[in-house]
């Protein structure tokens, strides 16, 4: 019940395309859903995050869509660039005034080809 399932495992998209990465969760106590971007040899960096009170959030070229009833959320990258090539992790946690562990998905290796 604590798992976060992520797909696809890898994704290759042409520059300018819109890669979509999907995640699903079971634990209804989760109420904070961040996406992290990780480059090789680096730590995960927060990209964008959403809470269940909204169905969509946009920050620049990155959009999270959230479907509370289906317990699914997805990341869309608009106008993708080769520099977006990285591993993307979805994650989830419950609110505990900041003191809550993140449960990560298994990651998606995204490659944007010129």
């Amino acid at each position: 019940q604590q798992q976060v399932k992520q797909s696809p495992q890898s994704l290759i998209v042409q520059k300018g395309g819109i890669p979509i990465i999907n995640c699903a969760y079971e634990n209804t106590a989760f109420d904070y859903f961040p996406w992290y971007q990780q480059f090789p040899g680096k730590g995960p960096a927060l990209l964008i995050a959403i809470r269940p009170d909204v169905s969509e959030k946009k920050e620049g070229r990155f959009t999270i869509s959230f479907n509370k009833s289906a317990k699914q959320f997805s990341l869309h990258i608009m106008d993708s660039q080769p520099g977006d090539s990285a591993t993307y992790f979805c994650a989830a946690s419950g609110s505990n005034f900041g003191n809550e562990k993140l449960t990560f998905g298994t990651g998606t290796r995204l490659t944007i080809i010129p």
Binding site: G41, G43, A49, F89, G98, N99, K101, F104, G107
Partner: protein
């Protein structure tokens, strides 16, 4: 921009040896975490720490692991007797009370031979 720092960046050790991984969280943060990532796999939670005590720990965090905040800035993870399967990238993270965003350090790559 403030960032989490970790030392060393790489550590090679013999099985059975003790290692200490060090982290300097962001200065005004109150919550501290250790995660690990075995090569090619997902990031896994190890332990969270608040108010000088462990808040939560995972099944991975057994008696061989300990954490400490020895002074006002450092946060350490000690593995008393390393095993081959402890080889992984270890990430420290910190967060504040308001945003709940966890900021990750660059990691320490631990290799146990």
């Amino acid at each position: 921009e403030p960032e989490v720092t970790q030392t060393p960046s790489h550590q090679v050790t013999q099985m059975g040896q003790e290692v200490i991984l060090r982290c300097v969280p962001i200065s005004n943060h109150l919550y501290f975490y250790w995660y690990r990532q075995i090569l090619g796999q997902k990031v896994e939670f190890l332990v969270s720490f608040y108010n000088n005590e462990i808040s939560e720990k995972s099944e991975i965090f057994d008696d061989q692991f300990s954490v400490e905040r020895p002074d006002g800035s450092n946060f350490t993870l000690k593995i008393r007797s390393t095993k081959l399967e402890d080889s992984a990238m270890y990430f420290c993270a910190s967060s504040d009370r308001i945003t709940e965003t966890q900021y990750f350090g660059p990691g320490t790559r631990l290799l146990v031979l």
